[in-house]
């Protein structure tokens, strides 16, 4: 499992750069991760991230864009505006969760 330095902190990531230990995540890290993919977090981003964290804690799986829409209340179209091109992967990346698995 590779370890990388993000803002002087050592975190465990998988081979595609997703955090592999969600407990190493905090809000500072989220800002750094978002910056790496060119996103500045707004309050609406935080609402999405908080939903992802809570849902993951509850179910042990990274929610899909459909779930963020239906259960989290953020329409898919808006997810694309907030996390352009690849919302499913980008949301998981910034929220420090494993790459969405629901799409096997």
């Amino acid at each position: 499992m590779p370890v990388v330095q993000i803002r002087e902190r050592a975190v465990h990531v998988d081979d595609e750069g997703f955090l592999s230990r969600p407990e190493e995540w905090d809000e500072d890290l989220a800002r750094a991760l978002a910056e790496q993919i060119g996103i500045t977090l707004t309050e609406r981003h935080w609402e999405v991230l908080r939903f992802l964290r809570a849902d993951y804690a509850d179910r042990g799986q990274t929610p899909t864009t459909r779930r963020v829409d239906v259960v989290g209340g953020v329409p898919v179209k808006e997810q694309f505006a907030l996390f352009p091109r690849k919302p499913g992967r980008k949301m998981a990346y910034v929220a420090g969760l494993p790459k969405p698995h629901g799409c096997v």
């Binding site: 081979d15 595609e16 898919v76 629901g102 096997v104």
Partner: protein
């Protein structure tokens, strides 16, 4: 006498019913085992892939469900209306009520073109086709017979879908068929997917993506469709893909009664523990096959490996013992790649599909992730294996555990 009620008599429901019956016989315990399905027509769904190319007709893929249920399993024909988990009862549309001690939801998942604006509109079965249903596969066959050239788009609406490799196989077979008819040069083929590549798992994605490229198929990734607009697919972020013929795999949803009964998630799949397959919310209620939310492929092979562990777990649960035979997400899928060849993918929750050899008694080892004739013949043989061996739930000498392999190392983040 305990009553086990299984909703759905397709691949998973049939295997589980037969397996449980064998297991209880060994225990000298006798339960009522009932399967409910809307009709007595068991469809071999993988065969639908060959229908658009005229290699089979739906009638050749259908057999009586009853014939494949062991004597002692009762088959009730009727449409399930809902489950009353509080009282332990199932309601059928015609008013019948079936009580149960243990329930297995095995009602699968089905294509729902009505979920995407414009998809099931006036171009449905004219310019817009699918091959996941018998009627759809036949209509597509007719359309392809009249094909002279233009733009064909093969499209996956949203994951997960059952048999996630089927649209890729369809593309390979279509490329092959068009070449043989001299129509390939006049046909622009495009593969459109919501994923970031041809498949989900990294090594298989790169391998399968390369195979599309080698066949001159254009690939559009990260495309989440918003609507079908006349002769264009339009994505949520306003990209467009024009077509003359669209072959789509619509959103796959679990049965409506699952949602009505409060048993489902946002895809009408039943959330279950990935090891024991028991509902997280309702003890004594299980789900198997395509009807679950477990993070592996929705495939017949999965139903088979699940049935392997399910019967033992059910008996343990009934006896008040811990369920110890945990399902590990094992799946294997043959991928027809055209020209009489196929690939084999083998993976699990934590095991990536990688190249190598797959042990198969009698037929011999098969090559993983490589296009070979042996894989094609093995796939062609699975229909007979399905009817004659797999559905009976007899043990088959193939490994039921997912392979133990090091995870693949690849680059590129989001």
């Amino acid at each position: 006498m305990k009553h086990l009620l299984i909703l759905g008599g397709g691949t998973a429901g049939t295997m589980v019913a037969n397996r449980v019956l064998h297991r209880l016989r060994v225990e000298r315990d006798f339960w009522r085992v009932t399967v409910v399905d809307r009709d007595d027509r068991h469809l071999y769904q993988p065969g639908l892939l060959t229908v658009p190319f005229g290699a089979a007709t739906p009638e050749q893929l259908v057999r009586s469900r009853r014939r494949y249920l062991e004597p002692g399993v009762e088959l009730v024909l009727g449409e399930v209306e809902g489950v009353d988990t509080a009282r332990g009862r199932v309601h059928l549309e015609d008013g019948r009520v079936l009580p149960y001690d243990y329930l297995v939801v095995a009602s699968g998942t089905s294509p729902r073109p009505d979920q995407t604006p414009g998809m099931a509109g006036d171009q449905w079965r004219r310019r817009v086709h699918e091959f996941y249903t018998p009627d759809g596969a036949v209509a597509l066959h007719r359309r392809l017979e009249r094909w002279l050239g233009g733009r064909i788009v093969v499209h996956v609406t949203e994951m997960p879908i059952k048999c996630p490799v089927a649209p890729l196989e369809f593309t390979f077979l279509l490329d092959d068929a068009l070449r043989r008819r001299g129509l390939r040069a006049g046909t622009e083929l495009t593969y459109v997917t919501p994923l970031d590549g041809a498949f989900t798992r990294p090594v298989a994605r790169d391998r399968l993506g390369g195979m599309l490229e080698a066949r001159g198929v254009q690939v559009r990734t990260d495309f989440l469709v918003d609507r079908v607009d006349d002769r264009r697919l339009v994505s949520v972020d306003d990209r467009e893909v024009p077509f003359d013929l669209l072959v789509t795999v619509p959103v796959n949803l679990g049965a409506d009664f699952v949602a009505r009964s409060g048993l489902g998630d946002e895809l009408q799949d039943v959330p279950v523990d990935p090891g024991t397959l028991m509902s997280r919310a309702h003890p004594g209620v299980f789900a198997v096959g395509d009807a679950t939310d477990v993070p592996t492929s929705k495939a017949g092979s999965v139903a088979h490996f699940e049935a392997d562990v399910f019967a033992d777990n059910l008996v343990s649960y009934d006896r008040g013992r811990p369920m110890t035979r945990l399902y590990d997400g094992h799946a294997n899928c043959f991928v027809e790649s055209g020209r009489g060849r196929a690939l084999l993918l083998d993976f699990g929750y934590d095991a990536e599909p990688l190249p190598g050899r797959y042990p198969l008694p009698v037929i011999g080892p098969l090559s993983l992730l490589a296009e070979t004739r042996a894989n094609h013949w093995a796939k062609a043989a699975t229909q007979r294996l399905y009817w004659n061996v797999l559905l009976h739930g007899r043990p088959v000498p193939i490994p039921s555990r997912a392979p133990r392999r090091e995870p693949a190392a690849t680059g590129a983040a989001v």
